[in-house]
């Protein structure tokens, strides 16, 4: 106790007591700090943290709406949804994409094409969105994947629907196809439009009626754990399936049009003139729309898009062609309407003509000349000289006015994407675009549907329909009705009337129509080969549009066989039937196929047969005699000329 002797036990105890009290206050003070903080978290900020906790655990899982089906006017299925198991990858969640693909390929079959296409799409898709890697997994692949699924972070199998087109290439240009949503499409659509969806209409009806077909996304609110694994469903927000579309297309007519065109490139358009409903719309060559659904790889796409025949190009409404003689009935009508000719006024055709003060020769397709031709004869035999003279009398301005009224040079506003407006020239246009004044010689070319004039097959069909309806008209459209996928309630898409064309003398419609009937039915008409055995009366006009200018010094018209394919003439044909009660108007263009009457008219006839009779009765019979070859006169160059048989 040596040290203890100097300890003051009593004082130590007193000192300790003070320290113990201080310790107590110290503890209480620290506890107070904890409570203050807890009060802040659990009372003052409680609502905020509750929402944070909910954000943590709740995931909104979009439920993709079922895309509307597409039928033809009789209910034949044109586009449907097919269940498919798709392997998807969310690029954001993948650290080593190549290593992942390598490992995945041991579980599911991945072709080089799959991987190329996938990588292509990864670049075009926001990183947080799933990108399809393989579509249509087999059950075996599915089972193998499920076994190892925890090795594949960022990979998921989605049971979804993919698009299927039962007719394949047939009608691909109208129906179009769907494909992966691009970043651009996503950013342009209102937010949440494509929640849960991976496909969007890219062309055709699939694109133009995307909003109708798509439907509304629903959502499941699910509870997920920290690893994103869904545990249970908390709430459900109903979506709504897209509406089904009934197209005005008649698949049988469409098929006949396609078959009739055969191996030729070109387009066929058939319209019901009484409503503007498009009955058939064919563009050849076609393509398989299924190539695009799974996302086409760059190589295949390049091959398709650089194909000189341009299979992706919808000739029926994107393709612009010189209309050739198919404009002649309308020209004749303009002549009557403006009073520059009477039906009886005639022209003597010697096979060629010149303008005063010029040595340049303007030739008729019939080098020996048609002799005296009045309006009916001009149309029926497609006499170029008659229409040169008419064009001179009308002048470019009046031709422009009346052709524009019939729809040339501007879009028909059909409910399909990428329509081309074509061109019907005017003085003003030439001055603006070419910085040149209008030359009288050009008026002549315009008079026979050559020169600057460019039309789409759809415009020609529409023009014919308006003549058939004596000036009345409807906006062409391909969607005939829509249907609620749940209530099955069908809503007609009403025909949209256009402002009627009023003539000073409405008899002029009949005069022109009569001339068109003669084209098919009167001896000497350019389309008699299809009129001969027709059970109904056809009002028609053939056309042969020159692709390459014929040199002034060419002595002979070139024979079809001796001309390189790409320089051969386009064959055209427009018609409506029955002539006295029009139910169908068609326009046919067969590229580089020669003469309209020989090639295009039979195609048009078959289409009309199918629609009006329910079967093709046309019998080509004996081929028409070869076109007489007329000696050509020498002279300056003619850049456009019509050749008719």
């Amino acid at each position: 106790m040596a040290l203890g002797s100097i300890k003051n036990l009593h004082r130590e105890r007193e000192a300790f007591l003070a320290r113990a009290l201080f310790g107590t206050f110290f503890c209480l003070a620290l506890t107070g700090i904890l409570i203050a903080r807890l009060f802040d978290l659990q009372v003052l900020q409680s609502a905020y943290f509750q929402s944070r906790a909910n954000d943590n655990r709740m995931r909104v899982m979009p439920v993709a709406p079922v895309r509307g089906l597409i039928y033809d006017r009789h209910g034949a299925l044109l586009a449907q949804n097919k269940p498919a198991f798709m392997l998807e990858v969310v690029p954001e969640q993948v650290k080593e994409m190549d290593a992942l693909l390598e490992r995945l390929s041991s579980v599911v079959q991945l072709t080089e094409q799959d991987i190329a296409r996938f990588k292509d799409r990864v670049r075009k898709t926001p990183r947080y969105r799933p990108v399809p890697l393989r579509n249509n997994l087999t059950m075996e692949e599915l089972a193998r994947y499920e076994l190892d699924r925890y090795d594949f972070r960022g990979v998921d199998v989605s049971a979804g629907l993919t698009r299927n087109y039962p007719l394949g290439a047939s009608g691909a240009h109208i129906i179009g196809y769907v494909g992966g949503i691009s970043e651009k499409e996503l950013s342009e659509a209102p937010e949440n439009t494509y929640e849960g969806l991976s496909l969007v209409g890219k062309t055709g009806v699939e694109k133009s009626h995307e909003d109708t077909l798509r439907g509304k996304s629903g959502a499941k609110i699910i509870e997920a754990n920290a690893y994103g694994r869904p545990l249970r469903e908390l709430d459900y927000r109903r979506g709504y399936p897209g509406r089904n579309l009934y197209l005005s297309i008649d698949s049988k007519v469409q098929l006949v049009a396609e078959q009739a065109l055969g191996e030729l490139d070109g387009a066929v358009v058939a319209i019901d003139p009484r409503s503007g409903e498009v009955l058939a719309l064919v563009s050849k060559p076609g393509f398989d729309p299924h190539l695009f659904i799974e996302g086409i790889d760059t190589k295949t796409y390049k091959a398709l898009s650089s194909d000189p025949k341009r299979p992706l190009f919808n000739r029926a409404l994107q393709g612009t062609y010189p209309p050739g003689s198919t404009v002649k009935p309308a020209m004749a009508m303009a002549g009557l309407e403006y009073g520059v000719v009477t039906p009886e006024d005639g022209v003597y055709c010697r096979g060629e003509m010149t303008l005063p003060g010029s040595s340049r020769k303007y030739r008729c397709h019939k080098r020996t000349g048609h002799g005296f031709q009045d309006m009916v004869g001009g149309v029926m035999r497609s006499c170029d000289i008659y229409f040169y003279e008419l064009a001179i009398k009308l002048g470019i301005d009046r031709m422009h006015d009346s052709m524009t009224r019939l729809g040339l040079g501007h879009k028909t506003e059909v409910d399909l994407p990428l329509e081309n407006a074509g061109l019907f020239p005017s003085r003003e246009w030439k001055l603006r675009r070419r910085k040149e004044q209008w030359y009288p010689g050009e008026t002549l070319s315009i008079g026979i549907g050559q020169g600057y004039t460019l039309t789409t097959p759809l415009q020609l069909a529409q023009m014919t329909a308006r003549i058939a309806m004596r000036g009345k008209g409807f906006k062409p459209h391909v969607v005939y009705a829509t249907q609620d996928a749940i209530t099955r309630e069908v809503t007609r898409v009403p025909p949209e009337p256009l402002e009627a064309i009023e003539l000073k003398d409405n008899h002029n419609w009949q005069r022109v129509i009569d001339a068109m009937v003669d084209v098919a039915h009167a001896p000497g008409g350019t389309a008699t080969r299809i009129g001969r055995d027709s059970p109904y009366r056809i009002a028609a006009k053939t056309g042969t549009a020159q692709v390459a200018a014929m040199r002034q010094d060419e002595k002979k018209a070139r024979s079809l066989e001796s001309t390189p394919l790409h320089l051969r003439d386009h064959a055209l044909f427009v018609a409506f039937a029955p002539a006295e009660d029009p139910k169908i108007a068609v326009a046919v263009i067969a590229e580089h196929a020669g003469h309209g009457g020989a090639v295009a008219a039979p195609i048009g006839r078959q289409v009309m047969d199918m629609y009006l009779l329910g079967e093709v009765r046309y019998n080509p019979g004996a081929p028409a005699p070869a076109t007489s070859v007329a000696p050509a006169a020498a002279g300056g160059h003619v850049h456009s000329e019509d050749l008719e048989d």
Partner: protein, 381 residues
């Protein structure tokens, strides 16, 4: 008021030994109040462990076994008189120091730090033992010396405190070394260390902070930085704190209900049944229950200080006081870190968190407190 308390303590306090159960337990050297309070905390802990471990019965059984083992150790420890522990202190200190040296040389690695010692039959952290050995040794060292300590005594105490602290720090285990410093510091504090020394030491620590900062490991620094702005790195180091705050805050006043805490159940909250168990408790049972738990902890500390005040010699007083305050510091550091006031250091919520050697060593400490309390009475009688 203070003088009143002091006079009451002099008289022996108002709480005359209760008859019955308390007396019976006391004759077995068990303090009934401490036992009840400890059991209350551990029992509540087991309920929350069940919830936080994803309804794991084995985890609860495991915890219960550990608690019972701890109680057994506590009861055994309580049997020996305080004098025994005063004699034992230097030996225990020396042994622990030796073990710490061993750990630094041959210890197991866990989470990048060398803390564990595998003795073949048991794997434990010697630093845990130091939390007990430190207040015991310092109290024994100061027992015969004049208090408040003179500079020379203080120097000796600082050596006793400093050597193991440094050994633990280089493991590195910043959390435990702080707790060892706290244990030693409170012993000195109760020994009546002059305020000028205390304030001076705090000022020195403040001044040394930048130097200490330089010597911290990256992950230690990150924890401190993260504390200041947890949302700056919500997926990295700040994740713990952020998720823990969400859990606590979303619990509100009344909680989401037992087993209904989404943060823990859905694995958003890491280490939910160990270091971050308080967040689960707060999420599921709310602030009201949190206040009750804090009150129970305060009662335990209060009982410890009461035992200290009534202890009969310096060693007992200092040891009891230091053990009580250290216990409170554990609680404060754990909750402070879970609610985002302190950096994330690996300190479990005492008696509540799942697992750890801390349960047994803590209860061993309470065993010594009971020894101090019950032997005093026997002596007095």
């Amino acid at each position: 008021m203070i003088t009143e308390v002091i006079s009451r303590v002099r008289r022996g306090g108002p709480d005359k030994p209760e008859p019955g159960m308390a007396d019976l337990l006391e004759s077995w050297h068990i303090d009934m109040w401490l036992l009840l309070l400890l059991a209350a905390v551990a029992g509540a802990g087991m309920f929350v462990i069940y919830s936080a471990s994803g309804h794991s019965i084995p985890a609860v059984v495991n915890q219960a076994e550990r608690f019972l083992l701890g109680l057994f150790v506590m009861a055994v420890v309580a049997q020996a008189p305080p004098e025994f522990y005063r004699m034992l202190a230097p030996w225990l200190y020396g042994l622990t120091l030796l073990l710490l040296l061993l750990v630094d040389v041959i210890g197991d690695h866990a989470m990048g730090a060398q803390r564990w010692l595998d003795l073949g039959f048991i794997r434990f952290q010697p630093s845990e033992l130091m939390k007990l050995a430190m207040p015991m040794t310092l109290a024994a060292f100061l027992h015969h010396r004049r208090l408040p300590p003179r500079p020379l005594t203080l120097l000796g105490a600082l050596v006793i405190l400093g050597v193991p602290t440094v050994l633990i720090m280089i493991q590195p285990d910043l959390g435990t070394s702080m707790l060892v410093i706290a244990a030693g510091g409170f012993t000195l504090f109760f020994a009546g260390l002059q305020w000028r020394w205390i304030l001076g030491a705090l000022a020195a620590v403040g001044a040394a902070a930048p130097i200490l900062w330089e010597r911290l490991h990256d992950y230690q620094r990150k924890r401190i930085l993260t504390l200041l702005d947890p949302e700056s790195d919500p997926l990295g180091a700040g994740y713990h704190i952020t998720q823990s705050k969400i859990a606590i805050g979303s619990g509100g006043l009344f909680g989401k209900g037992w087993l209904e805490g989404t943060q823990a159940k859905l694995d958003f909250l890491p280490e939910a049944h160990t270091d971050f168990i308080f967040a689960v408790f707060a999420e599921e049972l709310g602030m009201i229950s949190v206040l009750v738990l804090l009150a129970v902890y305060l009662c335990i500390v209060g009982r410890c200080l009461w035992i200290a005040v009534r202890a009969q010699d310096s060693f007992q007083r200092l040891l009891a006081g230091a053990l009580g305050m250290t216990f409170f510091i554990y609680v404060f550091i754990n909750i402070g870190m879970v609610i985002g006031l302190l950096p994330v250091v690996g300190v479990p919520l005492p008696l509540f968190s799942f697992g750890g050697t801390s349960m047994v060593s803590l209860l061993a400490g309470f065993g010594m407190l009971m020894s101090i309390h019950t032997h005093r009475k026997l002596l007095a009688n």
